[in-house]
């Protein structure tokens, strides 16, 4: 179960590391601001079928324009660091689950 209090920092690899988490996430339009927006706004933890990520979090970006689904792992460098693994624009069923859990109605992009 994801508890933000367990973590201190977001762990990104060098952007020039093409196999690193930052380069991968940028290819999916997930950057540092998206991660900050999702974790700092109205995050909801969900479970996905057939995906064994440690943490899957849905939330709006900082402008509340787009809901994002982000996968995280506890960093192998330091257990208090949180590593973004991948992410995407939330799909319709994920948006519904965010609405159900948060009690909010999503008015942004779908």
């Amino acid at each position: 179960m994801f508890d933000p209090a367990d973590f201190e920092l977001i762990d990104w690899d060098d952007e020039e590391d093409v196999r690193g988490n930052l380069a991968h996430c940028l290819r999916h339009e997930v950057d540092e601001r998206v991660v900050a927006g999702v974790l700092g706004g109205a995050p909801v933890e969900i479970s996905l079928q057939a995906v064994t990520a440690e943490f899957v979090v849905i939330g709006p970006d900082g402008e509340w324009a787009q809901l994002w689904t982000l996968l995280f792992a506890r960093s192998y460098k330091d257990s208090r660091w949180l590593r973004p693994v991948t992410g995407w624009r939330s799909k319709s069923r994920e948006i519904k689950e965010w609405e159900r859990a948060s009690g909010k109605r999503w008015k942004g992009l779908r």
Binding site: P4, L9, D14, A36, I46, Q49, V51, V85, K91, S102
Partner: protein, 143 residues
């Protein structure tokens, strides 16, 4: 996949295994529709995180940064933060914040940008002295 799994593995092997796991996870997550388990969602407390930025630098640049940091009695990270604040300010960004962790005890004048109170810390603008009450200074500027 808890952190403990990696504690008995050393060096490169640990890193390679962890990154391979991440790549497999990305492949699984990207292989079509991953149905959300209905009813699994639960709100979590929002939190603002610092973010680790990794940058490859030449040894000569790192050496120069270290010399500068030692001369000022501050950390290399704060030297980098101040330089980046200046670069962003020059580019006309409207609002940026940074936590300078070593300036408070260094006695070195704070950089000439607009300071804002935060976490019990009071700072002055225009290169004023750092205040007390926290182990770091929260710095921001508005243009």
């Amino acid at each position: 996949m808890g952190a403990g799994k990696w504690e008995t593995v050393e060096g490169f092997e640990m890193t390679d295994d962890a990154r391979a796991l991440e790549r497999r996870l990305r492949k699984t997550a990207g292989s079509g529709e991953n149905g959300v388990l209905e009813g699994s969602g639960r709100p979590v407390s929002p939190k603002s995180f610092g973010q680790m930025l990794s940058v490859r630098l030449d040894a000569s640049l790192i050496g120069a940064l270290r010399d500068l940091a030692q001369a000022r009695g501050i950390g290399v990270s704060d030297v980098v933060r101040v330089a980046l604040l200046g670069a962003v300010e020059d580019a006309g960004q409207r609002h940026v914040e940074a936590s300078l962790r070593t300036y408070v005890s260094s006695g070195w004048p704070m950089p000439t940008i607009t300071f804002r109170a935060g976490d019990g810390f009071v700072a002055r603008s225009g290169g004023g002295e750092a205040g007390t009450g926290s182990d770091y200074a929260s710095v921001s500027f508005l243009t």
